[in-house]
């Protein structure tokens, strides 16, 4: 007996229309990186093909991210939901201005690092899967920037974390293993904390979709009887993301590990990983729980001040260039945290611009340090010297990048700092403004000293002058990144407008929500 089939209304639970071609842009970056990374793993032994495939994939990634940014800026946030389930049941990928611009800039940084790696990574590093890990790391980074689901964000965190382990121990030196152990343990505790928080979040909101959470947070805040523990949630999120972002006092894994791997790997980490933490912090605290963030802003501000000042003092005290740059990364994190602590549109756009500037500058600064170390055969400030006469153009680019990292005009570091200063003075937080200025001054001292000693000073007696000169593999990435720094420094209007649009999109996420729930369907 065949029972008559009952028609099922799929439209109640499934997306029935074919997604627009432009929607595919939001998952392409991640999908491309995973596929290319998997392909490289399959041809592990054909070392010669690795660089070609990886660099082609990264160029494609830059193009896709640029297209996505163009799409987002011309017609608002783009959403695609996996499996065709209607959100919030399917996992959504949503790109808004903030995510798209972060993805684009990080792809540029990764491409530069990949070009530099052609000289830095030897055949053994390639056989151990340098490029495969690099692409998977970028899958994690792009996924974290573009996902619209908070548990999915956790998964991308883990993807980039496990790839970063692979990159960190490339070479298997005892030093690297020690650094990797500290890095791995502390980061793992951080992501576990994030997982706990996601669990609590689901218990409170009953959803993991960020647009859905943003939509429901207002109503939940009104509940007075059995009030949901949103404060606990926010505090846990801030702690977990501060651990990822290397904010004081949970940042000791960074100076312990970032100077141990190959310099390309340091550049990637210093440019990208901490910024993913900052991205998640801004995304969650500014967009999802702005009221609760306000309540703990003083704690975040105190952490920001300490991160900045202690980072700058750390940078002053280092003899090893790689360790010094690690501390400069930390100073930048302090600045971005200050933006999060203030929370006004100006400060958030300042923090976003600072993150973009920091991705470019820190990647480039590590590459500069790597190149200086390669030319001189040492990373120690006390033994470096004479680089100006050996490589004048490289020295010029290095000076540009150092001034940018210190936040001096006319380079890209100036504008975010000005915005953060203005925002902190606007709310009367003069001590925050002083901390930003003092830390910038200390970083200027530390970097100027590097230039003075390593570049200007005549080469010390007995320094090996025979090491190979710079060639295109280091000139191209450092040149590209310094050009970006210079262009955004002297012609900042487009980027300022972009940062403003990104901050506005976070302060008022209605466009983001509309993109995920077009009909405004009942929750």
């Amino acid at each position: 007996m065949a029972s008559p089939s009952t028609p099922v209304d799929l439209a109640a639970a499934m997306v029935t229309t074919v997604p627009a071609l432009a929607d595919w842009l939001v998952i392409l970056p991640t999908a491309l990186m995973i596929l290319a990374g998997a392909a490289l793993m399959m041809i592990r032994k054909s070392v010669r093909l690795h660089a070609v495939i990886a660099i082609a994939a990264l160029v494609l990634l830059v193009l896709i991210d640029a297209l996505l940014l163009w799409q987002v800026s011309s017609s608002g946030p783009v959403t695609m939901t996996m499996g065709g389930w209607l959100p919030p049941f399917g996992i959504s990928f949503t790109a808004d201005m903030f995510g798209a611009v972060m993805a684009l800039v990080s792809a540029l940084a990764a491409l530069s690092a990949a070009v530099y790696s052609l000289r830095d990574i030897d055949a053994s590093g390639l056989r151990h899967g340098f490029f495969a890990f690099l692409l998977l790391l970028m899958a994690g980074v792009s996924g974290a920037f573009l996902t619209g689901d908070i548990f999915n964000l956790y998964v991308w965190f883990e993807v980039l974390l496990i790839s970063s382990f692979g990159l960190l121990i490339l070479g298997s030196e005892p030093k690297q293993i020690e650094g990797a152990l500290k890095y791995a343990i502390l980061n793992l505790i951080g992501t576990t904390l994030f997982l706990i928080t996601v669990g609590y979040l689901y218990a409170i909101f009953g959803t993991l979709n960020m647009a859905d959470i943003a939509r429901k947070a207002g109503a939940l805040r009104g509940v007075t009887e059995n009030a949901p523990p949103l404060m606990t949630l926010t505090a846990l999120f801030v702690l977990a993301f501060c651990m990822k972002a290397a904010a004081f006092p949970v940042n000791f894994w960074l100076p312990a590990s970032y100077h141990t791997p190959r310099i390309t790997v340091s550049a990637l980490f210093g440019g990208l990983l901490t910024k993913v933490g900052i991205y998640a912090l801004i995304r969650v605290t500014i967009m999802l729980v702005p009221v609760e963030r306000e309540a703990i802003s003083l704690v975040v501000a105190a952490s920001a001040v300490l991160t900045m000042i202690l980072g700058a003092l750390g940078a002053l005290a280092q003899n090893d260039l790689r360790r010094m740059v690690g501390y400069v990364v930390i100073v930048g994190i302090g600045n971005m945290l200050a933006g999060v602590a203030i929370g006004s549109p100006t400060s958030v756009s300042g923090a976003i611009l600072y993150a973009l500037h920091s991705i470019v500058t820190m990647t480039a600064l590590y590459l500069v340090v790597g190149e200086a170390g390669r030319l001189a055969g040492t990373f120690e400030l006390s033994r470096l010297g004479g680089l100006w006469s050996r490589a004048p153009w490289f020295s010029f680019a290095s000076l540009t990048l150092m001034l940018a990292a210190a936040g001096l005009p006319p380079l890209s570091g100036l504008w975010p700092k000005v915005m953060l200063l203005k925002a902190s003075l606007d709310i009367g937080a003069w001590w925050l403004a002083i901390a930003i200025l003092v830390s910038a001054f200390l970083v200027t001292l530390a970097l100027a000293r590097v230039f003075l000693l390593a570049f200007w000073r005549p080469a010390p007696e007995g320094m090996d002058q025979s090491l190979p000169e710079t060639d295109w593999r280091s000139v191209l990435p450092i040149g590209l990144l310094s050009a970006l720094v210079l262009v955004f420094g002297v012609y900042p209007e487009p980027l300022l407008a972009l940062g403003q649009a990104a901050a506005d999109g976070l302060a008022d996420p209605s466009a983001y929500i509309r993109s995920v729930f077009p009909t405004g369907a009942a929750p």
């Binding site: 883990e158 382990f165 121990i169 020690e178 706990i196 996601v198 669990g199 689901y202």
Partner: protein, 125 residues
């Protein structure tokens, strides 16, 4: 049942924190394993523990009643178990290699990457 599990999770967390505060890598590692399992149990318990009730939403409701366990946290745990297990495997090898290469399992004595008597940068030109 949930109350019992809550106490158990508390024990897991307490033991994990205690172990992670140790300076020996193998104890830290055990602490991390306990922490991961504690978190998994936490999510599992938060999604209600019931027996033999399929999580089917009745036709006249839009959310699951409180008789059945919420299946989503269980799906989250499946992901988290896979991730934490693979991390544990990696960390175990890393710890072993660290013991082989550095000859110690005490984090106080791991001073290769951050030597104690590192020289200060030059103060003069």
């Amino acid at each position: 049942m949930e109350i019992l599990f809550t106490g158990l999770i508390g024990l897991f967390f307490a033991a994990a924190v205690y172990l992670m505060l140790s300076k020996f890598t193998i104890r830290i590692l055990l602490g991390i394993v306990l922490l991961g399992n504690g978190v998994n149990l936490l999510l599992f318990t938060a999604g209600r523990i019931t027996r033999e009730v399929p999580p089917i939403i009745p036709a006249d409701a839009s959310t699951l009643g409180s008789v059945a366990a919420n299946p989503l946290p269980q799906a989250l745990i499946l992901t988290a178990i896979v991730i934490s297990f693979s991390f544990f495997a990696f960390l175990l090898v890393l710890t072993w290699r660290a013991f082989e290469e550095l000859g110690t399992d005490s984090t106080d004595e791991m001073l290769l990457a951050e030597p104690r008597d590192e020289p200060l940068p030059p103060t003069g030109y």
